[in-house]
C-alpha cells in the first residue's frame, strides 16, 4: 500500500458515496420531481442536434473566448497573486495528509491530480451545455479538459513560483515590477517580429480575411511560442475532424506535461498557507451550511434598545443587523457617493456633460433600485436561510410559526426596501435636474411614479424573499447545500423550482396587486390628477399585503411542521 493507493481510494470512495447520498435524498418525491426535471433538461441539451450554418464558427468563438479568459487569468495570477503558496487542501486533507508519511512532492502530485480530475468534470459540463454549438462535442470536451487542466496547473505553478521568489527576497511590488518588465520584453519582441513578418490587414476586410490574417499573426514566432499555452488546446477543442484532432493532440499534451513538471518540481513550503486557507474555507462552508455568509464585524446600524419589547421584534432586529453586515454596504455607499458626487459636479459643467452624467446617474440609481429587488432576495440571506442550523432554537421560542416566518423575512425586507427607497429618492431628485426629463411632468407626477415604483419593487422583493424562505421550510436539504446538493441535475432542478415558484408568486401576488393599483390610479386620475399614481401604488401594495397574509400563514404552518433533523 502507498500514498498513491490511499489517494486513489479517497477519490473513488468519495465520488461513490457522494452519488449514494444524493440518491438517498431522491427517495423523497419532493426532491425527485425537480431532479428529474433538471435531468430531462440536461438530456435535451445534450441530445439536441446542432442547428444553423454557423455552428462551427460559434464553437470557435466560444473556445477563443475561453482562451482569452485563460490568458488573462494567468497574467492576473502573476501580477495580483500573493507571495504565499496557499494550495487548496480541505481541512480533513490537512489533518490526515499533512501528518501522514507523505513527501511534500507527493502532496503536490495529489493536488495536481485532483485539479486535473476537477477540470474533467468542468469540461464535461461545458461540453454538455455547448454540445449544440461545437463541431464535435467529444473533441471539445478533450480540448477544454486539457485547457482547464493547463490553467489550473499554471495557477498552482505560479503560486509555488511566487512563494519561491518570495523566499529569495523577490516579493510584493518587486516581484510585480519584475513580472511587468518580463511581460513588456516579451510583448515588445512579439510586436517587433509581427511588424516585420506579418502582412498588413487587407483593405476589404470580411470575416474570412480577418480570420486568415489573425491566424497568420498567431502563427508568427515568438507570439506563437508564447500563446502555445492556449492555442495548443484551442486547436484540439475546435478540431473539425479526426485528423486535425490527432495532429493537435501532441502539442496540447506536451504543454500539459510541461506545466505538470514545472509545478511538481517547484520545491517550496506551502503547508502553513494551505492550512490557514483550509481553516478559512471550512469556516465559510460551515456558515454556508447554516445558510449564512461570512459577515463582517462592526457596529450594528440598528440598536435593539430603540425597539419595543415584542418577541418577534427581536428576530426582525437580529436579521436587520445581520443583513446590514451581509450586504456589501460599504461598496453601496461608495457607489452612491460616486453617483451623487458625479451628478453634483456635472451640475456646474457644460450642457453636454449635464446630459451625459446626470441622465446616466438617474437611470443608474433607478437601475440599482431594481437590482436590489431582483437580486437582493438571494443575496440578503439573513432570514430562515441564515437560521437553518438553529431551527430547533427558533422552534423553542414562544411564537407562532407565522410570527417567526414573518419576523424572519421582515429583517432582510426592511434593509432591502430602505436601500431601494434611497436609490429611488436619488433617481427622483436627479429627474428634476437631468436636462432631457427636467421639464417633463409635474412634481406630483414624479412623486407618484416614485411611490408606485417603490411599491412594485417592494412587492418583487418580498415575493423573492417568500420564495427563498419557502424553499427552506419545504426543501431544506437543497438550501443547506453540502456540495452534493449544488451539482448536476439536482442543482438544475433547484434552479428550475426557484424560477417556477417565483413565477407563481408573481402571478398570484404581484400581478393582481399591480392591476388593482393601476385601475385605482386610472380611476382617481380623473378626480385628483397625477397624484393618483401614488395612491394607486399604495392601493397595489395594500392588495399585495392582503394576498401575502395567507401565504405567510401557510409558510408558518410549514415551519411548525418542519423536521429539524432534515436541516
Amino acid at each position: 500500500m502507498s500514498f498513491r493507493d490511499a489517494a486513489g481510494f479517497l477519490m473513488v470512495a468519495t465520488a461513490r458515496n457522494r452519488v449514494r447520498a444524493q440518491w438517498r435524498r431522491l427517495r423523497q418525491p419532493k426532491y425527485l420531481i425537480f431532479t428529474v426535471l433538471g435531468a430531462l433538461y440536461l438530456g435535451r441539451l445534450f441530445l439536441h442536434a446542432p442547428t444553423g450554418p454557423n455552428t462551427a464558427a460559434t464553437g470557435d468563438f466560444v473556445a477563443a473566448g475561453a482562451a482569452v479568459i485563460s490568458v488573462l487569468t494567468m497574467l492576473g495570477a502573476w501580477l495580483f497573486g500573493g507571495d504565499r503558496a496557499a494550495l487548496r487542501f480541505s481541512e480533513p486533507e490537512v489533518a490526515f495528509l499533512f501528518t501522514a508519511p507523505v513527501t511534500r512532492r507527493g502532496l503536490v502530485h495529489f493536488r495536481l491530480l485532483r485539479q486535473i480530475v476537477g477540470a474533467g468534470g468542468a469540461a464535461a459540463l461545458l461540453a454538455l451545455f455547448r454540445a449544440r454549438y461545437v463541431a464535435n462535442p467529444g473533441f471539445y470536451f478533450a480540448g477544454m479538459w486539457i485547457g482547464l487542466s493547463i490553467l489550473a496547473l499554471h495557477l498552482t505553478g505560479a503560486a509555488l513560483t511566487r512563494a519561491s521568489l518570495a523566499e529569495h527576497g523577490v516579493a510584493g511590488w518587486r516581484r510585480r515590477i519584475l513580472t511587468l518588465v518580463v511581460l513588456a520584453a516579451v510583448l515588445g519582441a512579439c510586436v517587433w517580429f509581427a511588424a516585420t513578418d506579418v502582412p498588413p490587414l487587407p483593405e476589404h476586410l470580411d470575416f474570412d480575411s480577418a480570420r486568415a490574417w489573425g491566424e497568420g499573426l498567431l502563427d508568427t514566432p515568438p507570439l506563437s511560442w508564447v500563446l502555445i499555452v492556449v492555442t495548443s488546446w484551442v486547436r484540439l477543442a475546435v478540431a473539425a475532424d479526426g485528423d486535425a484532432f490527432v495532429h493537435a493532440l501532441p502539442a496540447a499534451l506536451a504543454v500539459l506535461g510541461a506545466h505538470y513538471a514545472w509545478a511538481v518540481s517547484t520545491s517550496v513550503g506551502f503547508e502553513e498557507a494551505a492550512d490557514e486557507a483550509a481553516q478559512r474555507r471550512a469556516r465559510l462552508t460551515e456558515q454556508r451550511r447554516g445558510g449564512r455568509r461570512i459577515v463582517r464585524r462592526g457596529k450594528p446600524f440598528v440598536s435593539l434598545a430603540a425597539t419595543p419589547g415584542r418577541p418577534w421584534v427581536a428576530i426582525t432586529w437580529k436579521n436587520v443587523v445581520a443583513s446590514t453586515r451581509v450586504l456589501p454596504l460599504r461598496a453601496i455607499l461608495v457607489v452612491t457617493v460616486l453617483v451623487v458626487g458625479g451628478a453634483t459636479s456635472a451640475m456646474f459643467a457644460g450642457h453636454a456633460a449635464r446630459i451625459g452624467v446626470l441622465e446616466t446617474a438617474m437611470w443608474l440609481s433607478a437601475g440599482v433600485a431594481a437590482l436590489f429587488a431582483v437580486l437582493g432576495p438571494s443575496l440578503a440571506r439573513a432570514d430562515l436561510r441564515m437560521d437553518l442550523s438553529h431551527m430547533d432554537l427558533l422552534r423553542s421560542y414562544p411564537l407562532r410559526g407565522r410570527d417567526v416566518v414573518t419576523a424572519s423575512i421582515a429583517g432582510p425586507a426592511a434593509t432591502l426596501l430602505a436601500l431601494q427607497v434611497i436609490a429611488l429618492v436619488v433617481a427622483t431628485g436627479l429627474s428634476f435636474v437631468a436636462p432631457s426629463v427636467a421639464d417633463r411632468g409635474a412634481i406630483d407626477a414624479r412623486f407618484g411614479i416614485a411611490v408606485a415604483a417603490a411599491s412594485v419593487l417592494a412587492m418583487v422583493t418580498v415575493s423573492g424573499l417568500v420564495v427563498q424562505n419557502a424553499l427552506v421550510v419545504y426543501l431544506p436539504g437543497w438550501v443547506a447545500g453540502d456540495g452534493a446538493a449544488s451539482r448536476g441535475p439536482e442543482a438544475l432542478g433547484r434552479r428550475m423550482l426557484l424560477l417556477a415558484l417565483t413565477l407563481i408568486v408573481t402571478a398570484l401576488g404581484v400581478v393582481p396587486a399591480v392591476v388593482v393599483g393601476g385601475l385605482v390610479a386610472l380611476g382617481l386620475s380623473f378626480v385628483i390628477g397625477a397624484s393618483a399614481i401614488a395612491v394607486g401604488g399604495v392601493a397595489g401594495a395594500a392588495v399585495f399585503a392582503a394576498l401575502l397574509w395567507p401565504a405567510l400563514g401557510a409558510l408558518g404552518r410549514g415551519f411548525e411542521r418542519f423536521d429539524v433533523s432534515e436541516g
Binding site: 500500500m1 490511499a6 480533513p92 490526515f96 499533512f98 501528518t99 507523505v102 456540495g483
Partner: protein
C-alpha cells in the same frame, strides 16, 4: 532503541510579526505522557501542529524517533499520530472507509483486524457504514482516535482529546492512553482539564505567551514555585494543586517582567 521518542529543540513559530512560540525545548521518552497546559492563546495548538508536521517551524528542530520532521518527514511521520481538537473527517468516507484510507496511507497490512478491534473498543462497530454526517460529535472524535491509533504510532500528539466524549468514553480513553504509554508510546497531550493532566501525565509543560514557563513533574514545579520569595498557595507550597500552580505561573507570566520558572 531510541532513548528519546520526541525531541524539540529551540522551537520558534511566527506568523508574520506575531511570535506564537519562542525557544521551546523539551523531550519525551518512550512510555512517558507529557501534559501541555496553558491559557487560551498561549501557543499550545501551534506547538502541537508543529509537532504533527502540519506547520513547519520558523526555527528549531523537531525529531520523532530520531528523524527530523522537516528533513525526513516520511520517516518521522510514519511513527507519529496527531489527533486534532476538532474531528476533521472526510464528508463522504464511511467509518470503515476512514480506517481503510488511513491503513493505505500508513501501509498497515493487517488493518482489518486492528480496525475491528478499535471500533469495538470505542463502541463504534454499529456505525461502521455510517458517514460522518450521521455521527454525533463524540462519535466523530472516537473515529479520529481510531484513525490515529490504527498504525500503532510510537509518538501520539493529542489536542484536547476528551472534548465531546461521554464519561464512559473518557474513562476508556484514559485507560487506552495509559496502556499505550505502558506499551512504549510517547504521548503529548494538551488539555484544559487539569485534573486529567494531573491524573494521567508523568510530567507537565506549562506554556504562556508562547514561552515555556515550567517543565517537570508536578512535585518539581511545586518546589520551583515555592522557592524563596515566591508565596505558596492556600495550603502552603506542598498543598498546591496543579490548578493553583497553573494560576500562579500564568499570572506571573502575564505580568510584564514575570519570571519564567
Amino acid at each position: 532503541m531510541v532513548a528519546v521518542a520526541l525531541e524539540v529543540v529551540d522551537l520558534d513559530k511566527s506568523y508574520g510579526d506575531v511570535h506564537a512560540v519562542t525557544g521551546l525545548s523539551f523531550a519525551v521518552a518512550p512510555g512517558e505522557i507529557l501534559g501541555l497546559v496553558g491559557p487560551n492563546g498561549a501557543g499550545k495548538t501551534t506547538t502541537l501542529r508543529c509537532l504533527g508536521g502540519i506547520l513547519p517551524p520558523t526555527r528549531g528542530t523537531i525529531r520523532v524517533g530520531g528523524h527530523d520532521v522537516v528533513a525526513e518527514p516520511v520517516a518521522a511521520k510514519g511513527q507519529l499520530a496527531f489527533l486534532p481538537d476538532e474531528p476533521r473527517l472526510f464528508d463522504y468516507l464511511t467509518v470503515w472507509e476512514h480506517l481503510n484510507f488511513v491503513a493505505r496511507l500508513y501501509g498497515v497490512a493487517d488493518w482489518q483486524g486492528r480496525g475491528s478491534k478499535l471500533l469495538d473498543e470505542l463502541e463504534l462497530a454499529p456505525k461502521r457504514d455510517a458517514l460522518p454526517g450521521e455521527l454525533s460529535r463524540g462519535m466523530k472524535q472516537k473515529l479520529t482516535i481510531a484513525c490515529g491509533f490504527l498504525h500503532e504510532p510510537s509518538v501520539i500528539v493529542l489536542d484536547e482529546p476528551l472534548t465531546g466524549l461521554d464519561p464512559l468514553a473518557i474513562r476508556k480513553m484514559k485507560q487506552s492512553l495509559a496502556q499505550r504509554a505502558e506499551a512504549g508510546a510517547a504521548i503529548v497531550l494538551s488539555s484544559h482539564l487539569l485534573p486529567l493532566v494531573e491524573e494521567l501525565c508523568s510530567r507537565v509543560l506549562v506554556i504562556a505567551r508562547g514561552k515555556m514557563r515550567a517543565l517537570g513533574t508536578i512535585a518539581d514545579i511545586r518546589a520551583k514555585v515555592a522557592a524563596p520569595g515566591i508565596p505558596g498557595g492556600p495550603g502552603g507550597p506542598d498543598g498546591m494543586s496543579l490548578e493553583d500552580l497553573f494560576v500562579k505561573i500564568t499570572e506571573d507570566a502575564a505580568e510584564p517582567a514575570g519570571p519564567a520558572a
